[in-house]
Symmetry: C2
Subunit: 301 residues, 2 copies
């Protein structure tokens, strides 16, 4: 598609009033509250596979950004898309997935930029704007807080293996290709959590980051980490399966630190505790187990 | 550099308080007015040359986004950077250019994302947020308005040729590599202009876009288009030189439509008029001249 055709197609998607019909170089936003801004890029071959369907890539681009808003308890206001034109079939499929995500998460396009792509792997960019930042920072966890996580962990990691050709169930593949940001859960947890973040690079590395930002140590009970039935069926429930789950990325669940006696207002599982000191301790069946060489996914490391 | 090293280096640049020291996935902004948001990507081999120095690429990324804010008369509030790590030397030079631009235009970093780049040409992304959108849209030009442009046109086009190896003066090369967004001029013009936009893809194509968005025709006097002494020395002052100037991109001057008897509050040159109808007419020495086959730069066309 040409830039003009692509923008014309974008105009048929849900648009924010401040997008001015995408007829201008800038959008406006009348803001009378605290806004939350986040920006996540996804790169072909790094954050998604070249073989992933373009509609799923669009969905993921939206979902990973909204997941950062969810972790702040914010409500999505609008999205700024940075899109390199990728050929007619790719562009059309991308638009279909983008529309599906905008409608599923009830967020309009606010603006963006469409460029003629250079050869080579695609880099897609999105900036998400939300309102009502009620959550504390990830650095605000307190000594003695319990660590809770929503949903189940490791499904997307298994889904990635399936996307790469391993046999496995569609439900796991869908968790990798079509993650769902925990917007409602985030809004509810933000009111009670001392600290919150989304689990994007792996449960262990993200928990370690929250603890480090809060100048605390963290102990996680590997056996308490919630696994889905689909994942147990796929990988079993042994230590190595659990270790794979907690070091895989793309879960987009929420990790929240709550005062020790608090019960979260949404379904979640207690998986650990924040203690004095620094570093991460992993327990399983009552004994400390060695940390894996790699706690999760780190860019450029 | 690793992602951690790059973010540590970013922390030494001017940061917005809402950036929270870049320790979180999201930034906050307490907004109590109209915000302007814009997002421009630049792609290696499309918007800049692979041989352009990385510090100039960083400067250009900031400048082209701030130019869109300037066209809305907005004051920069903060920037969200999307950066693919590019190797130590490139990353360090990029950071130096980024710092120079942030300081020159007095705008802090608000957040962003750093990713491990795939092989191939770089795509760099920036979202700029400004406050005080006082300008009318580009579609608000009125019948009989005069078209004015700030600065001089065509210098960056010559600078691009010089960057590609043609002999020529550093002043022209600098206009290509280190454009300066017209922030002060934009704020002053926004108070009086019926419509305004920046000249990024070429004077003719951008003027035609303003006219089309406003459902008007546009006549431009080629002889009135302001050329710098450096460009005259480089390319002469004939029709073909002027035609090259008005179809070259990267000027980042402001194009404003003002009521016919108004004089702009900043230095600018009157280059044309908006009339009834549609389309673009080009005049030179009192006669209509054929339009060039290409009015400017269009992506994916």
């Amino acid at each position: 598609m040409t830039e003009g055709e692509f923008i014309e197609a974008l105009r048929r998607l849900p648009l924010h009033p401040g997008a001015c019909g995408l007829a201008d170089d800038a959008a406006w936003l009348d803001a009378h509250e605290r806004l939350v801004l986040t920006k996540d890029l996804i790169v072909e071959g790094v954050h998604y596979l070249a073989t992933d369907p373009p509609d799923d890539v669009a969905w993921k681009l939206v979902a990973v950004n909204l997941s950062d808003l969810a972790a702040k308890g914010a409500t999505p206001v609008g999205l700024m898309l940075g899109y390199p034109l990728g050929g007619d079939a790719w562009d059309h499929a991308f638009l279909a997935g983008l529309e599906a995500a905008l409608r599923a998460f009830d967020v309009p396009l606010l603006g963006g930029d469409t460029v003629h792509a250079a050869a080579g792997p695609r880099t897609l960019s999105l900036t998400a704007i939300g309102s009502g930042d009620t959550a504390r920072r990830r650095s605000a966890a307190r000594l003695g807080d319990a660590l809770w996580v929503t949903g189940t962990i490791g499904d997307a990691g298994a889904g990635l293996a399936i996307a790469r050709g391993a046999p496995g169930r569609d439900a796991l593949l869908a968790r990798y290709r079509r993650p769902v940001p925990r917007l409602e859960e985030g809004a509810a947890l933000a009111a009670v959590a001392d600290a919150m973040m989304d689990v994007s690079d792996g449960l262990l590395i993200d928990a370690a980051r929250m603890a480090a930002a809060s100048r605390l140590a963290c102990t996680i009970d590997l056996g308490a980490v919630p696994l889905s039935d689909a994942l147990r069926e796929y990988a079993g429930d042994g230590r190595s399966a659990r270790m794979a789950a907690v070091t895989a990325g793309d879960d987009y669940e929420l990790l929240a630190a709550l005062p020790p006696d608090d019960i979260p207002p949404v379904p979640a599982t207690r998986i650990g505790i924040l203690t004095a000191g620094s570093g991460l301790t992993l327990m399983h069946d009552g004994e400390a187990v060695p940390l894996p060489p790699r706690l999760g996914f780190e860019h450029g490391g």
